[in-house]
């Protein structure tokens, strides 16, 4: 069996190129369309603020999903009215403790 030059190029270069392109498309085709949600230090983080509480009966939603309070919905938490004003002073509930860190 003898192959012409065109056939040889098609079989030995065309088919591998097709396979490479198919795999490339399968790998990057799906991820390129949607923006990665992953946080990378130093890159801007453009998500709306969220506030997570455990899903108990008190906070609603039956405890099966993670309820999140959007930042604009902080008022949903039963708290003193004063605390809902953006410039309200922190209400003294005794001394708070804790720790801070940066990365």
């Amino acid at each position: 069996m003898s192959l012409s030059i065109t056939q040889t190029v098609l079989v030995y270069a065309g088919i591998p190129a097709l396979v490479v392109l198919t795999v490339y498309g399968m790998v990057y085709g799906s991820t390129a369309r949607r923006v990665s949600k992953r946080y990378r230090p130093g890159r801007p983080f453009n998500f709306a603020p969220v506030w997570f509480l455990a899903g108990t009966g008190e906070t609603g939603s039956g405890g099966s999903t993670a309820p999140a309070l959007g930042a604009g919905e902080r008022a949903a938490l039963p708290g003193p009215l004063l605390a809902q004003a953006p410039d309200a002073p922190a209400i003294d509930h005794g001394e708070t403790g804790g720790a801070s860190d940066r990365w």
């Binding site: 230090p41 506030w51 455990a54 899903g55 993670a66 309820p67 902080r74 509930h93 708070t96 403790g97």
Partner: protein, 134 residues
């Protein structure tokens, strides 16, 4: 009463548009519920920008929780690369500041590697362990 509750009426919870995938949200929810259940403290996680000064801003958020004295707030600001752990007056007796600092260190280490959900879940478990049984 929560955003999760109202948005499920519309079909898709807003939180799915956030930085976490569904499995990460489930892990976070599980970690929060386990921490609350085992310690009887209220743990909450805030993820977003904090106003300057960040410590006061985090304390103000903490004071808006239903029972601040018994609550622990983990406030994470990825843009400012700042982490604040605020413990209420009663919670502070169970979680000394030094233990909170240790948890903060390991969380910050995870965050610097880009793992927000993993760091938060690990930090919650660590804080709950320090607090012991409630």
């Amino acid at each position: 009463m929560t955003a999760g509750e109202t948005s499920t009426l519309r079909g898709r919870p807003d939180v799915l548009d956030g930085p976490f995938t569904t499995p990460q949200l489930l892990r976070l929810d599980e970690a929060l519920r386990l921490a609350d259940k085992s310690t009887r403290l209220t743990f909450s996680v805030y993820l977003g920008d904090l106003d300057e000064p960040t410590r006061e801003s985090a304390e103000k958020l903490h004071s808006q929780l239903p029972n601040p004295a018994n609550s622990v707030l983990i406030a994470v600001s990825p843009n400012q690369r700042i982490l604040e752990i605020v413990t209420g007056a009663l919670a502070r007796r169970r979680i000394p500041d030094r233990s909170a600092k240790l948890a903060a260190l390991s969380m910050a280490a995870a965050f610097s590697g880009g793992d927000l959900a993993g760091g938060i879940v690990a930090g919650l478990a660590q804080l709950a362990e320090y607090a012991g049984k409630g």
